[in-house]
């Protein structure tokens, strides 16, 4: 299967970046931050969305994947932590928490962090999380 942002990923691989170990999601329950009032900004990797949040030298493969959490409470905890350091974080990552199940046709995922439940999704070309993820909770 081809990743949705394959050409960008290939360019970074050529520069020496290495893909992380990836697994099939097998229907994994997942949570993501979304923008409540602008669906067009949802489920876009940071290096694809406009404007891109980047700095000189900050290009990483993770810029073409989507942050997910396996645990909704831990996702909200992360949001609150980010809010303490970046009061306007909602303008960058959204103001709602959405829930959905990732199937093997959506893409491949990294290993889940045991403490935070965070993992990354590298989407396949046919993946469209706007169709499968629904609002679970408003965060603001």
């Amino acid at each position: 299967m081809t990743y949705k942002y394959q050409s960008y990923i290939d360019a970074l691989l050529l520069e020496g970046c290495a893909m992380p170990e990836l697994y099939m999601p097998d229907g994994k329950e997942s949570y993501r931050f979304i923008f409540l009032n602008d669906e067009t900004r949802n489920h876009l990797p940071v290096c694809i969305m406009n404007p891109k949040r980047q700095l000189p030298g900050s290009q990483k493969l993770a810029g073409y994947s989507l942050s997910c959490f396996a645990d909704g409470d831990k996702a909200e905890e992360k949001y609150r932590t980010l809010q303490r350091s970046f009061k306007l974080i909602s303008t960058a990552i959204g103001d709602g928490l959405a829930k959905g199940n990732l199937c093997n046709e959506d893409g491949a995922i990294t290993k889940e962090n045991e403490q935070t439940s965070h993992f990354e999704l590298f989407e396949y070309t046919t993946c469209n999380l706007n169709k499968t993820f629904t609002l679970e909770k408003k965060l603001i």
């Binding site: 404007p51 891109k52 700095l55 000189p56 030298g57 900050s58 303008t91 960058a92 990552i93």
Partner: protein
Amino acid sequence: MKQIHGIETMFDFNKLQKCSDLIWFDGPLLSHYMTESGDHYLYYWVESDEEYNRWMLVRTNIIAIKDYVQRRTTLRKLISAPEDGIVWVADVDDNLNFHHTTMLSIAALPEDYLPEENSYYDGECEDEFLTADTQSYSLFVPTKDKPLFSSIIERMGWKVGRVAVL
């Protein structure tokens, strides 16, 4: 974007070399940069709109950064105590062009541009130097001896880039 009141100015952002991202969530939020002469800067993300991401640039020092990463102090204290008493704010577009670069004092910043009082580090620091138990020293080395000094430091397994060679 929030209105800020400072002095529009120029800043040579090209002189900054990236050391590491201190906080990354779907992209950088707080990143450590250095100049060739050993000055330490933090890019601190503050806000975004449809066109730009706004970043604050703060000159700080390595001890303050280590204290923050090792949770001895907060991001608010780190950001609020720049070496120069001032910060720069710039709007960065998709092509990494810097616009509206403005110099202003910490007191002139909107409250929303400062972290909360309990903003202790919660990232995954990729820079082992910042998390390791280390001691810093100030050394004065003649500029002409920088290559020799750097090679000695590297042979010891330490990082040259973390030492300001005057």
